[in-house]
Amino acid sequence: MKNTRTNTKTVPKHSERYLTYEGKFEENDLLMPLELGRVMYIPGRKLMGLCIIAKNKPGVLAKITSIIADAGYNILYVVINTTPHKVSDTSTVVLYLDLGENFNKIDTVIEELRTLNVIKDVKVFKSELGCLLADKYHFPLMINGVRAVLMALPVLEGLIAITQKHEALKAILWHQGVEVGRRVVKSFKELYDMRTYHEFIRILQAKTMSLGWCRIHVTYEDLQEHKFVLQLYNNWECEIIKSWGIRDKPQSMFIRGMLAGMFQEVFNERFNVIETKCITMGEPYCEFYISRTKTT
């Protein structure tokens, strides 16, 4: 396979719906970071968190924010939780407030909130070290009823740092990726009733984006020969390695293994995944050529 980017205009008809734009994403103008708000650290500021258990009724948030607005507190962050799978009669509202200099009113605000007939309970979490606010109320984290963990940069660095010291260990990281890829596709089948390659790609693009892994752009797909080219923007693995310095060859092990495991599970065949461009080499994205392993 040639080590060059494929001209998207020559791609077969079946992939048209993924390639309506060249090099840019349709939703490009909307791209921006999403603050998850599990923890907020603002040195020099007096922060406080409220966790409010309320009736799941329209207008509840308006009542809560009105009381806080009247007290003059700046709301830094709000998250509302209801059970996504069913209609629930309870919502949880978590608010992070900047109390500024005027923190004497907060007790009155809490009392006022408690008197609302739509509110069942109000919990307060205070900041650590004065300016570090952490949501200590919600645990564990769940996505669609499945447990999840949040891997922030220190954790991700810890996961892949080992391979930077010992070249031989890169293979194990690749194997971890393969196992992850296979299990993820199995979960797509179970959760979303995924049956076809195109459904797989749609779910993969959505999930990798919404869970913060990367943005995937399919630039070539040949379903008869089983050859594919994927560009991964903001691939977390290679962005971390790049932060340790520019490299002279592609570095992805975990994600490369994951793609191999995924395609293997989708097509029930073994796949080769070659990284031809890499963020760690100064490229704007990581590019992977994915093809069926030839058997002799």
């Binding site: 939703e27 909307l30 921006m32 970071p33 999403l34 603050e35 998850l36 923890v39 907020m40 329209p58 948030l61 308006a62 924010t65 607005a69 830094l76 962050y77 709000v78 509302i80 939780n81 209801t82 059970t83 799978h85 070290l129 570090l132 949501d135 200590k136 109320y137 919600h138 645990f139 564990p140 984290l141 996505i143 669609n144 499945v146 999840a148 963990v149 949040l150 891997m151 940069l153 220190p154 954790v155 810890g158 260990l169 194990i172 971890q176 196992e179 992850v180 890829g181 296979r182 299990r183 993820v184 959760l191 979303y192 749609r202 959505a206 999930k207 919404s210 869970l211 913060g212 903001n234």
Partner: protein, 268 residues
């Protein structure tokens, strides 16, 4: 005393049995703007399923999932767009049937770092391939060890924890925030360097219990490494060893670890 509730990370992905629409809005940083938005949603009889508001400087960014009457969607959009405090209103495309993903968002952050979310299939995959060979478990331990060192660095250098006690408290919070486990310190002796930790809902052993069933010996490898790395960094280079004495994978209600400097631990 907090009662722990499950956090649905619904801001990222949601599955629903009914019609769900996602809206993305940018407004001025004024609580009244949020009141206007939620009032509008209420006015048209829609229900806010999940919502995130994040403020930065003069702006607020709102991501919300609403459900209810299909016909109200356009009316809500035009009503919100007519509001001078709201700069931007976008409805997010439904990407697959009954499954809505916040596609317009990239790069998740949890202050101050980029983060990715790893759900159960991914966690199982990370652990699974190391289960068959002890040598591979060593790598998992080393991964955990590195994570522990990085978390200690986070507590010490980024959040500026002034004492060992505050570092231990932050470590407990970090584990909770990231959804790794809920730590309870049973013994916390910083003079004699002896610690006993109970890890409730430890993700690693929960994952093993779910995928492989009840085991005959403690299973924690990654978490053990994480504790050893963390304590080493906290105590400026002293080698610690963590021995798992109770384990969720054995059927215990929590994983329990004795953490002491290497050479001080009696294994039986």
């Amino acid at each position: 005393m907090f009662i722990y509730r499950e956090e649905n990370v619904k801001d990222l992905t949601i599955r629903s049995q009914g019609k769900v629409t996602a809206l993305y809005l940018e407004t001025d940083n004024d609580p009244n703007s949020i009141i206007k938005i939620t009032s509008t949603i209420k006015k048209f009889g829609m229900d806010i399923r999940n919502m995130i508001v994040y403020t930065e400087n003069d702006k607020s960014y709102v991501l919300m999932y609403i459900s209810g009457s299909f016909h109200s969607e356009d009316k809500i959009l035009s009503n919100l767009k007519g509001n001078t405090n709201i700069y931007e209103v976008k409805a997010i495309e439904l990407k697959s049937e009954n499954t809505l993903h916040a596609l317009q968002k990239l790069s998740l952050f949890t202050d101050p770092y980029r983060a990715v979310v790893m759900a159960s299939p991914i966690l199982e995959g990370i652990i699974e391939c190391t289960q068959n060979q002890p040598s591979l478990k060593a790598m998992l331990w080393y991964q955990g060890y590195n994570v522990g060192i990085k978390l200690a660095f986070l507590c010490k250098e980024i959040y500026g924890a002034p004492s060992i006690y505050s570092m231990l408290e932050l470590f407990k919070n970090m584990n909770l925030i990231y959804g790794l486990s809920k730590i309870e310190y049973v013994k916390n002796d910083v003079i004699d360097y002896e610690f006993i930790l109970r890890l409730h809902n430890n993700w690693e052993c929960n994952t093993i219990l779910r995928s492989k069933g009840v085991q005959k010996e403690p299973q924690s490898v990654f978490t053990r490494g994480m504790l050893e790395g963390f304590f080493k960094e906290v105590f400026n280079g002293i080698d610690f060893i963590a021995v798992e004495t109770k384990c969720i994978a054995l059927g215990d209600p929590y994983c329990e670890f004795i953490v002491k400097p290497r050479g001080y631990v009696q294994y039986n």
